[in-house]
Symmetry: C2
Subunit: 333 residues, 2 copies
Amino acid sequence: MTIDIAQLERGIVKGDRRSLSRAITLVESSRADHREAAAELIEALKGADGIARQALRIGMSGTPGVGKSTFIEGFGRMLTGQGLRVAVLAVDPSSARSGGSILGDKTRMDLLSRDPNAFIRPSPSQTHLGGVGRRSREAVALCEAAGYDIVLIETVGVGQSETVVAEMADLFVLLLAPAGGDELQGVKRGIMEIADIILVNKADGDLKSAASRTCADYSGALRLLRKRPQDPDGFPKAMMVSALENAGLEIAWTEMQSLTDWRRKNSHWDTRRAAQARYWFGEEVRQGLLSQLETPDARAALRALGDDVAEGRTTPAIAARALLDRLGALANG
Amino acid sequence: MTIDIAQLERGIVKGDRRSLSRAITLVESSRADHREAAAELIEALKGADGIARQALRIGMSGTPGVGKSTFIEGFGRMLTGQGLRVAVLAVDPSSARSGGSILGDKTRMDLLSRDPNAFIRPSPSQTHLGGVGRRSREAVALCEAAGYDIVLIETVGVGQSETVVAEMADLFVLLLAPAGGDELQGVKRGIMEIADIILVNKADGDLKSAASRTCADYSGALRLLRKRPQDPDGFPKAMMVSALENAGLEIAWTEMQSLTDWRRKNSHWDTRRAAQARYWFGEEVRQGLLSQLETPDARAALRALGDDVAEGRTTPAIAARALLDRLGALANG
């Protein structure tokens, strides 16, 4: 890939989807020169047209089978129908296994992907969650610079991905399926703590009463959690939707907007964005330090010393000192 | 503290509790010379009497109010009553707030703390969970070298502390209180995945039927989880106990032993210990690299550049590059 930063910058600011795609590919690359070019591009875009464009960044999680694609398709088309431009980014660490799913992601949101006011970007095929996080955060910044009004950051409920996505979102939506009484209501507690709005999907047909019960269960559970300063009265809240029947989507959007407006008025929006920027700076620094372990030499030493430790020939602390000495990175040399 | 490694070593191998206490204080210290002495001590103890002593390391978690102290006191005294020597280590990241709770920990297990075959060590007052983890793991190794048969590693259900404790334990016990039907059954899914045995405490008096229901709920939930290779049939399992009435403690211990025996016979014990040693080696290396951020200079730079990022004057990636350049630690020159 030949990189013309200035050209990419112009394309993105104009809202050219091809430029945006190429720029996201650039930020997802782990090549050192690409990383550098990506950092420059984002710095340049920051002041590109004098104002910093801000999208509403919505983090969204839901386990497979909950109807997430159908929801995003319906929700996204409702938004574009109101004249809004919508970008959808998938942050899916598990996609590393299949090496990404470009075709899959496009076909599963068929109508939205053909909408000129929508931009859908499948997961980067990275194995390292931290890397996915950093690069996704930069992809969000690119979509914002490209003038999208809403950036949906989608994740599946694997490991720490929600926490990572919450660190780049203005609000977090959890999509759930109706659950029968004896099913495991296996929502991680950590998700309850970051969710601003819980949407119980599939509130249609045979599942309607189960959805209503599930919604009541979660409403009750949310009331047991301590109130967070960033929440107005009544939030976080649980609501029912049916992505299949396009029911409840507009009300859900109204609630998201009212939450957003309240946070903007009460300075939680800016405070949170500042804290997030600081967090990602720290992450970049930490990952930069840890990247010293990713050279072939360091990997080989890690493996060999790891074997010594695993077989009891030395202790973790002694082996670590040997490796750090070799890296010349001992803080208290 | 003047450090005589050889003397500490002899004291620990003899089972002298004062030496053990002093050695744990040494491993908990973050001073560079103490870290070095601690690493040497542990390396020396590894081959101290020709054989590597192995304790059964039991990780134990439970939120405040679940009756953990009463349980540990009863369980520990049952074990010492059988002629076993028991060490109890608390890994409590939240204790950083109160600066540790030495007196608290001793009084809350009054009888056990006066038992000559028991050793109780309160939490280190560290703010950094990673640090607590590494040092607790070394404290476990010291208790093992001191000839304790069982090392109980206790944690409260805060953040990632369970995962950290599970990485240093042979088996993991989760203590729960009976829950009413409309209470939040807020067990983190991650804990369900590491728990080998769930004990529903307070199965006595008015709470007995609630305990029975809770136990049945968790038995059901455990059956829904995928079987792990390290589990014989019937594990993980949920059981009822009453620490107050000393009921169920012996059966719980029998179950722990049968699980342990099975794992030893099926080589899961050694495999797991090897994997854990490798994990802690990796952690030592990562923490060693990240410790470059803990110098006063680095902290000041992190703060100043963090302000620039938070106030939008630069981007996380550009600021991180500036800091890494200053640390001279950029992996890709």
